[in-house]
Symmetry: C2
Subunit: 302 residues, 2 copies
């Protein structure tokens, strides 16, 4: 067992302790609060510094209300090396608070390259360095062998993995919902692959380290996903702006309250827009409202 313990168990303990299945998505879209941009230049370095200040402020506001934070790597990557360095600082700050980080990177490559991606986010990148993230999101299109390096980080370093199974965007059906000759759909076959990959990685909580991304926007999908992946922690986007209905999420919580994390991004981190008062207070209020709302769904499922 790695020093920091099993991912599913760490998540389970935190969820129960905080009574929170909220995952706050760090999708930093400008403009940022004045406090974050003060004194900075309008170039990539300045933008990266503003993004970092914004995310650090959010961590401070929501750190004791959220089960995890999910930085969307794309927004940092769009600023290049300085953006990725800003994200490293945000991850370090979350780690200091004991706040689990799920890197929303959606990486996917052949095994020899996946070794590098898994090291980048879940491994030790240099002697003595802690991993950037507790878990990350990955793509399934390259098949099971492409997941192997990440599974190894789950096994040896207590990392977690969320494989894209059923995404929340309108185009998700194009590939994921194709009907198979042997019955079922592509995403259900992927779900079976994820379940099998996580079979030997269950913790004492009953949850595996190997989870799946299943959007709230497809009626019945969470129930089917839970049947296909009984032990997988589910990461659930699609609430709020994307129109997902909360009751759809209930099957996620059947094995354990931490069986589902409900992501909220803009509705929490941009709650300050147009509001009077300190921006962090608005973010904190929104996070608390989401925490309570989401925990109600867990209670209802119990």
């Amino acid at each position: 067992m790695p020093d920091r313990g099993h991912f599913g168990d760490r998540l389970a303990d935190r969820v129960v302790h905080l009574e929170s299945v909220l995952c706050v998505g760090l999708d930093p879209r400008g403009p940022f609060p004045d406090e974050c941009t003060r004194g900075l230049r309008d170039d990539r370095s300045g933008m990266a510094r503003a993004m970092e200040r914004y995310c650090l402020g959010i961590l401070e506001a929501v750190g004791d209300l959220t089960a995890a934070v999910k930085p969307q790597v794309a927004f940092f990557e769009a600023l290049g090396g300085v953006g990725l360095t800003a994200l490293e600082h945000v991850c370090a700050a979350a780690r200091e608070r004991g706040l689990p980080v799920i890197a929303d990177a959606k990486r996917g490559d052949i095994p020899s390259t996946a070794v590098a991606y898994s090291a980048a986010w879940l491994g030790s990148r240099a002697p003595g360095e802690e991993p950037l993230a507790d878990a990350m999101t990955v793509q399934p299109y390259l098949g099971e062998d492409s997941l192997t390096p990440y599974l190894e980080q789950c096994r040896t370093r207590g990392a977690g993995l969320y494989v894209l199974v059923r995404t929340s965007n309108p185009g998700a059906d194009d590939v994921q919902a194709l009907e198979l000759a042997r019955g079922g759909r592509v995403w259900q076959r992927v779900a079976a692959m994820v379940s099998q990959a996580g079979e030997t990685l269950r913790g004492r909580s009953g949850l595996s380290s190997v989870g799946a991304v299943v959007g709230l926007t497809h009626p019945g999908a969470l129930a089917e996903a839970r049947r296909a992946m009984p032990a997988a922690p589910l990461l659930i986007p699609g609430f709020g702006a994307q129109g997902g209905v909360l009751a759809e999420a209930m099957p996620a919580f059947t094995p354990h309250p931490a069986g589902g994390l409900l992501n909220a991004s803009r509705s929490v981190i941009e709650a300050w827009r147009g509001e009077p008062g300190p921006w962090r207070d608005a973010v904190r209020s929104a996070a608390e409202a989401h925490r309570a709302l989401f925990w109600g769904a867990v209670d209802a499922a119990a």
Copy 2:
């Protein structure tokens, strides 16, 4: 038409001019030549600087022999922000040489996030900045709407796109080769999606800006891919270490010699290992041997 012209046409001109369909994969795996590590510390910054020197040396050695270079983003990302900054320098150096860069990033996300990824690699990241890359690789699992922001960069900025269709790894069959109820396999359906997405993006060469990754390791796959995507430039991994047979690639060249780029990574960039003499000379010799070998396949297809 964007200033730098249409991606497929740029590629077509270069391929014919150099008589080269070689794409040199920049997959920088240590240990690096002594010249690249001299005076550097053994931390992430030092490693990133060594990686940069190594790749700059490769650009110098192969710049007039290769149709494009394909940096594997994972190896830079594994070093964090300093690694990505090193990659930015490598891309800038390639651009100064007029050498097309295909960022092998294999990104894939919902449309609102794909906007950030497409800006990161294909767009202008800040006022006055040139795009890092000419083209990039992306995932198809999230469906057609997830490709839209990249297609927009193709349309407005002369960028190119290579969508993963049939990858070269052993596990590729797990998802890609699933048989569909309506006939055909998942990857063939993805190929049809790619072909349709690129339909309105054909250049005067006949090639589209929207291409596909099709590995050389599946017998008959290139021929089928070409039928399904008549105008798509194909990026073809799997030659050499992965065991692909060169003759399999010939259907790629049917519409145009630039209809296929054959990738070679280790067999070129690590050709110096165990060899006497300057390391760049060994890399250059290997690149020239691959260029001639691959051009022979184009000639044979004509």
